[in-house]
């Protein structure tokens, strides 16, 4: 008999099919490089909800998540809600690449606490044309520090002095991961993505969006994960190693995009879902912090902690999916949990379709839940790493 676990958020539901994501074009490759991403996210959420036949008037709260500063961010959720078409209260949160998952957890807590009946989770980021921050730093010898928000942060963890990429190399060495496995794993992830794309799975998750310029003329369509090309193990093997097991091919790429889903009461979920017989609950979440500069091993640790808390095992999981900015992440997870990496990340993962930070794990959640519904339900494990050597994991149940 299968193990069961009680939900920490028994009153919260994710209504099936009320979600969606933009495609994630690689940075600087689409009109998204030119827009206010907060406005884009708000308007896109309205559009996606319209396609899903969900009137946004049902929402009573909005949690937005993004990590790269955007124009008028000060006005956070209220501004984005304005672009969405309903004056909602709400707040902005961020936790680097865990943003997309943490936002879902916060929304579930908002519903579970009885504060809201229908919470919109809206995550987004634009890594293109990174904003540049100018910080007066009296104690710095330059007196004023200027950083390019995206790339300077990727390249420098102020706590350790190292880069994210260095943490991947560090963990690969620590766990004796071989380059051959990493290339093979990466090639397999690409196969999974293109299989999902060809099967039509991706079209159920991502909604094409047409953009307008300031004159109201077409600016372009965000209609695919631009920059993602088929790649084979041979080509990956030929790539220069930037750090142990890390090449430009075995790590993700910066991208732009948004993703959204709803968290509601059970009653509201039945009202809004096109398949009200499906119940999706968040069982639990866990977070850990790994040793300094060991980010890729943190997700596995978070999963271990989560399984211990819930009494579930990997064998109980119908779907396993993660945010894997480095292929090393999956290899280490596999080694730590004794779980075949071929069994996870069907239909695609951030290693392939990119890394716009805020919405990354939201899209992972959406894809994982869609896959679970295809499989007839079950537990869904979603996890990933985040800046600061953090790992986060959550288990959902699809009934």
């Amino acid at each position: 008999m299968a193990t069961t676990a009680a939900s920490a958020f028994p009153d919260a539901r994710i209504p099936y099919g009320t979600w969606g994501s933009s495609y994630f074009p690689a940075w600087q490759s689409s009109p998204l490089a030119e827009v206010n991403i907060g406005q884009f996210a708000g308007e896109s959420m309205a559009r996606i909800m319209s396609v899903r036949k969900v009137p946004v008037q049902h929402l009573d709260y909005l949690i937005i998540g993004s990590t790269v500063p955007w124009h008028w961010k000060f006005w956070n959720a209220t501004l984005v809600a304005g672009c969405l078409g309903k004056r909602l209260p709400g707040f902005h949160m961020e936790q680097a690449c865990a943003t997309g998952l943490q936002a879902v957890v916060l929304a579930a807590a908002q519903v579970q606490g009885g504060s809201s009946d229908a919470v919109g989770v809206l995550t987004f980021d634009r890594t293109s044309d990174s904003p540049v921050g100018v910080f007066p730093e009296r104690r710095a010898y330059r007196r004023t520090e200027v950083i390019s928000d995206v790339w300077d942060n990727f390249g420098f963890d102020p706590s350790t002095g190292g880069s994210m990429l260095a943490s991947a190399g560090n963990v690969a060495r620590k766990h004796r991961i071989e380059r051959r496995e990493i290339d093979e794993l990466t090639a397999y992830r690409y196969e999974q993505y293109f299989k999902g794309k060809e099967s039509g799975f991706l079209e159920r998750v991502a909604v094409p969006l047409d953009l307008l310029n300031v004159q109201g003329k077409p600016l372009g369509t965000i209609g695919e994960d631009t920059g993602v090309k088929r790649i084979h193990a041979g080509a990956l093997r030929a790539m220069r190693e930037l750090d142990s097991c890390v090449t430009s091919g075995t790590q993700t790429h910066a991208a732009d995009g948004m993703a959204t889903l709803l968290v509601t009461t059970a009653g509201k979920a039945k009202e809004l879902s096109r398949r009200p017989e499906i119940a999706i609950t968040l069982i639990a979440k866990a977070e850990v912090r790994a040793d300094a500069s060991c980010m890729p091993e943190a997700p596995g640790m978070a999963v271990q902690k989560l399984l211990a808390r819930t009494g579930l095992s990997m064998a109980d999981m119908a779907v396993v999916k993660d945010h894997n900015p480095f292929a090393v992440n999956d290899a280490v997870f596999s080694k730590t949990l004794g779980y075949d990496w071929r069994k996870m990340n069907n239909n695609g993962s951030p290693l392939v379709w990119g890394h716009p930070q805020g919405p990354t794990l939201t899209r992972v959640v959406i894809e994982a839940l869609e896959e679970a519904v295809d499989l007839g339900g079950g537990y869904v494990l979603v996890f990933g790493c985040a800046a600061g050597d953090v790992g986060m994991a959550a288990i959902f149940k699809v009934q």
Partner: protein, 720 residues
């Protein structure tokens, strides 16, 4: 169809007067004319009596007193959007009669009057604009007492345009009545019935500086309302109900569109585009242009009162209530110009039609049930004041009762609360009878001669069908002498073909040919089916298809300062109702050169300057009216018709016509029209019909037309 006996007198109750024309015969009509509701008789009366029913100078004396003791008009709330617009409109029109306009407002009000000056200069030139402003006396008051100075202007008429608060308005009237007993008071209110306010209503339409339409609520026709008509404005009699007619439609459309937006998340700016395609107006843009703060309040107020009186069909949507409080505009600010485009799937398009048509038709059924206005007036209000591309009744007529019931039912399924308000499907059951069949065209006769009146400024298939019915009716009544004219009321000018009718022809040559042939055949009936026919042209202008229609009458009589034009070349399209050959068949060689210039340059000409080659007689209004009637009574003895050449006629070379040289698309359009003129004139009149139709239809599917104003208007309206 059955006819009605219609009133002809300019006084008394229009519904009970027995109609008699000047020569003593009873006036029979397809339906009652709209002038009758204002106590202004019939159009036939105008011709048979040889004069207009009332004169502005006499009515000014009646309303404002004799010149030596002339009183003033007061507009209170003069600095607001409505007040300021009306100050300009009345100050300019009353200036020749020495009636000053007092612009009264609170001392702290924004100076809405001064802001009108630039517009005045544009319209009238600086000297007249200065004179108009000199005719405006601006006074302040504190809201509770009137300035002493007001007395010396002897106020005789108050147009109240203060905020929509019932008690405030009532106190305001008491203030004026105490100070100036006998003063006539009009409220511009959007929503409060006269019975609530205790004064008559003159509800104006936006834009207030230029829109001539007023919904009038009064127990019986008054000289005040007749003065509006005599000054060239368009008063329309409506019943005394909440929100009258216009705001039921205007506010109702916003309400329905908001429901659609709520249902589908469609942003307001995009919903506007779909509504424009479906119905005609941009309800959200209109509110922003009027001024969101005021317009949102007025719309909310109308819907709120309608909701209380009739039920949830009208209960203001939450989004409107919020914007009523905040005054926020509907369109995003410039820094948030729309970024994500939007399209509706088939299901959503169906929902849009069901919601908008269903709601509007349910509202219309209430207005019909209460008989708030005569049908042509009700229909015209949507077109003239709410930018409906077709009046709501014309739309209903096309849909038919079954489709209407279907749409209202679909609307109720989507918004069950609306079913809580009564709707009257029976009001749409008799659309094939009576006034329903003649919303735009009426016919009257006195047993000897008839008058066909057109009350729509632009020609379309509806007008065409109604004109055919009017001709059939007159012939059926044994009438073989007819005057074709604008209706002296709802259509203050005849601007030509309704270019919306051409949209299908942009991609379908057969449709272009159908329109051209069908409309031309109708026009030819004026030539073939009557012993005498006169096209009577008055008003500001007569252009394009309407001028072509008039040309088909045996004779053309015009008021001397009316502008005539064939502006097709500037659009560009080809004149499709035989303008390329019909008038050439009646003109001499010199006249044909002038006609060629008319069609190739597109510039207007005054009727007085077109005498002999385009019109047969031009004179003052009274002179022209009398001349037209004399033709009815005396035929050629009154005005000798110019001979009509049935065979080929020579046309001047374009080079001989003395045209100013042009380049680019205009040059190409001219060449196309010149070819059409040459070929159509070179054909006998029977064949010329198809020659011109083919040219016209082929041109409309060409790239020149597609890139011109017609194509661009089509793209704006139809493409998303």
């Amino acid at each position: 169809m059955a006819s009605v006996t219609t009133p002809s007198t300019a006084t008394g109750d229009p519904r009970s007067a027995q109609g008699n024309s000047a020569n003593g015969g009873a006036v029979r009509a397809m339906r009652p004319g709209t002038l009758g509701a204002l106590g202004l008789g019939t159009v036939l009366d105008i011709f048979s009596k040889g004069r207009l029913p009332v004169r502005a100078d006499e009515l000014v004396d009646q309303v404002f007193g004799p010149r030596e003791a002339r009183g003033a008009m007061v507009i209170s709330g003069a600095c607001g959007v409505v007040g300021a617009g009306k100050v300009m409109q009345f100050a300019s029109r009353l200036l020749p009669y020495g009636v000053p306009v007092i612009a009264l407002d609170l001392p702290g009000a924004n100076d809405g009057v001064q802001q009108q000056f630039d517009g005045l200069v544009k319209s009238f030139g600086r000297d007249t604009a200065n004179a108009i402003m000199n005719n405006v006396i601006r006074l302040n008051y504190d809201g509770t007492s009137l300035p002493k100075e007001l007395e010396r202007y002897r106020p005789k008429l108050l147009l109240e345009a203060i905020p929509e608060k019932l008690e405030l308005k009532k106190a305001h009237y008491a203030l004026f009545r105490n100070a100036f007993p006998g003063i006539h008071i009009w409220s511009v209110t959007s929503g409060f019935p006269s019975a609530q306010l205790g004064v008559d209503i003159a509800h104006p339409s936006f834009p207030h500086q230029i829109n001539k339409v007023f919904e009038i609520v009064e127990a019986r026709p008054t000289p005040h309302t007749q003065l509006l008509w005599a000054l060239g404005l368009v008063p329309m009699k409506v019943g005394d109900h909440w929100s009258f007619v216009l705001d039921v439609f205007f506010c109702g459309l916003l309400q329905a569109t908001l429901q659609f937006c709520r249902h589908t998340n469609t942003p307001y700016w995009k919903a506007d585009k779909y509504i424009r395609k479906l119905i005609g107006p941009n309800p959200f843009r209109a509110h922003d242009v009027i001024g969101a703060k005021g317009a949102n309040y007025l719309t909310w107020s109308c819907l709120h009162h309608l909701g209380e009186a009739y039920g949830p069909l009208f209960t203001p949507e939450e989004a409107l209530t919020a914007r009523m409080r905040s005054g926020q505009a509907w369109y995003p600010p410039d820094h948030f110009r729309p970024l994500v485009n939007w399209s509706l799937d088939a299901e959503q398009e169906q929902a849009l039609e069901a919601i908008v048509e269903g709601a509007l038709l349910q509202m219309t059924s209430i207005v019909l049930h209460e008989q708030r206005a005569d049908l042509p007036t009700m229909n015209a209000i949507g077109e003239l004041c709410a930018q409906f591309s077709n009046g709501i009744l014309a739309r209903a007529r096309r849909m038919g009762p079954e489709r209407i019931a279907h749409q209202v039912g679909a609307y109720h399924r989507l918004f069950p609360a609306a079913a809580g308000t009564t709707w009257y499907p029976d009001t749409f059951m008799n659309m094939a009878e009576g006034a329903w069949t003649q919303l735009y065209v009426n016919a009257e006769h006195n047993g000897k001669a008839g008058v066909i009146t057109i009350s729509r400024e632009s020609y379309n298939d509806d007008v065409d069908a109604e004109l055919n019915r009017a001709i059939d009716w007159l012939l059926g009544q044994g009438i073989h002498r007819v005057i074709l004219t604008g209706d002296f009321h709802l259509a203050t000018q005849l601007v030509g073909a309704d270019t919306l009718a051409f949209h299908p022809a942009l991609s379908d040559e057969r449709e272009g040919e159908r329109i051209s042939l069908a409309w031309s055949r109708t026009a030819r009936r004026l030539h073939h089916d009557f012993r005498a026919s006169v096209g009577f042209i008055h008003g500001k202008r007569c252009m394009g298809g309407m001028l072509e229609l008039m040309m088909h009458c045996h004779q053309l009589v015009a008021v001397e300062d009316t502008l005539l034009a064939m502006p097709e070349v500037t659009i560009p399209v080809l004149p499709g109702m035989e303008g390329c050959h019909w008038p050439f068949r009646k003109a001499d060689a010199e006249g044909r050169k002038k006609l060629l210039r008319l069609v190739l340059e597109g510039r207007p000409v005054k009727a007085a300057d077109a005498s002999g080659w385009l019109v047969d007689h031009a004179g003052t209004l009274e002179n022209a009216v009398r001349t037209a009637w004399q033709v009815m009574e005396q035929d050629a003895a009154a005005l000798k018709p110019r001979p009509f050449a049935e065979g080929p006629v020579e046309t001047p070379d374009a080079a001989e016509a003395g045209l100013a040289p042009v380049d680019g698309p205009l040059k190409e359009a001219r060449a196309a029209i010149a070819r059409c003129v040459a070929e159509a004139c070179n054909a006998p009149v029977d064949l010329a019909l198809t020659v011109q139709a083919r040219h016209s239809a082929a041109f409309m599917t060409g790239s020149l037309c597609r890139k011109g104003r017609l194509g661009s208007d089509y793209d704006k309206m139809m493409k998303h």
